[in-house]
Symmetry: C2
Subunit: 326 residues, 2 copies
């Protein structure tokens, strides 16, 4: 089986076949090269990457751990990661955590046992988690930041500035009573987004009013429930949403109450997921270069895998895309 069979058929050694297949054939005569290649072709021989990996100690595959591929934000991230990985000759093992720390831990184990060359992870919690503290493979933290003692790559945006800019934008549009719907997850991302909201208010001497903030999670459902709460409690005329999914849910709730967007209430989202521009109304949002962040995550990871000197922290820029919801 395997390379052995090809070698026998060609009347050469396995070493020769191996060299040819791996392009280390400077010292191989063209005639044997041709002969071997022909046989490989004819026999439809496919090298066993498992055996190769065992020997050379790398698998040319990386692990991607995200909360949920069905979420448009993560699927765009995943697309970026996959495209880039493919271009660089790596395969991708996909893992969905559903925001469960247990699943995350389990996947980290599995990926390590499968000897992936590196791991890209949008981590669940900020809790001083030791799950990848003693992971041998290089790791890059994508989108969500986490304190850790081991060196890790980081791809992120300035989340606080995002919501700060969003609220400021609403203020400039004339809103005077701006609500906030976001996640209450205890991680730096959610905290930063809340802080951005608060600091923009503070800077304009507007008191923080918890009647018009709703913190749950980054889902359409949370957006829907949140918007209902806000309009019940107060006369909001603007809502800053922690992400676009929330904005979509909020819009649905408002429409059902016959509240006009943007006349009565202006809405701004965050992320600029693909559907936002096609939504009705098209959603004004703080764009985050999701796909590119996915691309860059693997560039960074591969730099780490191949032990190149690099900047471990890469911060991307956001920008407001004005559409029809404001």
């Amino acid at each position: 089986m395997g390379i052995n069979r090809i070698a026998r058929m060609a009347g050469v050694s396995t070493a020769t076949v191996s060299k040819i297949l791996n392009g280390k054939d400077q010292a191989i005569s063209e005639s044997t090269r041709q002969r071997v290649l022909e046989i490989v072709e004819r026999e439809g021989y496919i090298p066993n990457a498992i055996a190769k990996s065992l020997k050379i100690n790398n698998t040319k595959t990386i692990g991607l751990i995200i909360p949920d591929v069905m979420n448009l934000f993560f699927s765009e991230l995943a697309k970026g990661v996959e495209d880039s990985a493919d271009k660089r000759g790596y395969s991708l093992i996909l893992c969905n955590t559903d925001n469960s720390t247990d699943k995350e831990k389990k996947y980290l184990q599995v990926l390590q046992s499968k000897r992936v060359d590196g791991i890209i992870i949008t981590a669940v919690e900020n809790s001083s988690d030791t799950s990848f503290e003693n992971c041998i493979a290089p790791i890059v933290l994508l989108d969500r930041d986490i304190k850790t003692n081991r060196p890790v790559g980081r791809i992120k945006i300035d989340n606080e500035k995002c919501t700060y800019d969003a609220v400021t934008f609403l203020l400039n549009k004339g809103c005077t009573n701006i609500g906030f719907i976001s996640s209450d997850t205890v991680n730096s991302l959610s905290r930063s987004r809340l802080e951005g909201y608060m600091s923009a208010l503070k800077e304009n001497d507007i008191p923080y009013d918890e009647k018009i903030v709703y913190l749950k999670d980054y889902s359409v459902e949370a957006g829907y429930a949140g918007a209902l709460k806000l309009i019940e409690n107060s006369e909001v005329d603007g809502i800053c949403c922690g992400n676009d999914l929330i904005a979509i849910g909020a819009i649905k709730a408002l429409k059902e109450k016959n509240i006009d967007i943007p006349k009565d209430v202006k809405i701004i989202g965050l992320d600029d997921i693909f559907i936002s521009s096609y939504f009705n109304p098209p959603i004004t949002t703080v764009k985050q270069p999701i796909y590119d962040m996915g691309l860059e995550a693997v560039n960074l990871l591969i730099d780490m895998i191949e032990k190149r000197e690099t900047d471990l922290l890469r911060v991307f820029n956001h920008k407001i895309i004005e559409r029809m919801s404001t």
Copy 2:
């Protein structure tokens, strides 16, 4: 390194450690079992799945080949596949083809070299493609059907009936001039959907009018462009869309032309992707149990991998979900 080190530390042979780690420890004394397990724990030893795979000839990983994870239909499919694979102890290698036959071929090669235990694929073309004709790993065709000589599993719906039902639904709603926007890809899925549209018309003695059919691809952009063409060419009062993405694009175009949905034009989609119920207006659509099809694909595949007797063809039911766009 590896099991060797653990064996030495515990003062036993590698065989013993291996047996314990794999639960083949009926003939191992409880005391050594405990001792070994403690050392494994303490040392944070993670078995090398690569070495194991080489020996036992399976990898507990399956390949998933889809056109594009960013497409909500495929991301839901992928979620189902991943969830189910995980539950069954398999990992998932994700591959995006972007509808390129070349990429599909390349991925098929890569997956085979990585010795995946099986492959789930939403194939690009219907062309008598030999790319997986001589693939040794079990294969299940998900969503898209393809003629092939080798045995393969198939998970599908009755695509012709879907559009037939959609058009009939529109007819019953009083539409008299129903357009069709879909894909012109030469595969059985697209052909079936077109045939469903045509046969519903025929059954009601309505002539097929190519001025109100637009065939491009399953994208939002196609829906947008298609709707523009239809309203320009004729007074359509109903549009049957090849999928929900197309419906979303069509709605955007119609809204921009100030055409009321559903009063002036009724729109029905196909798939019932997650966003459809949250869209504005919520989209009436022919629901396809996407997630469950993903789940079932891996069940079927694992049955094939483990060589169980099974029904290789599994057809799912669709059903119309009426919302506000009709």
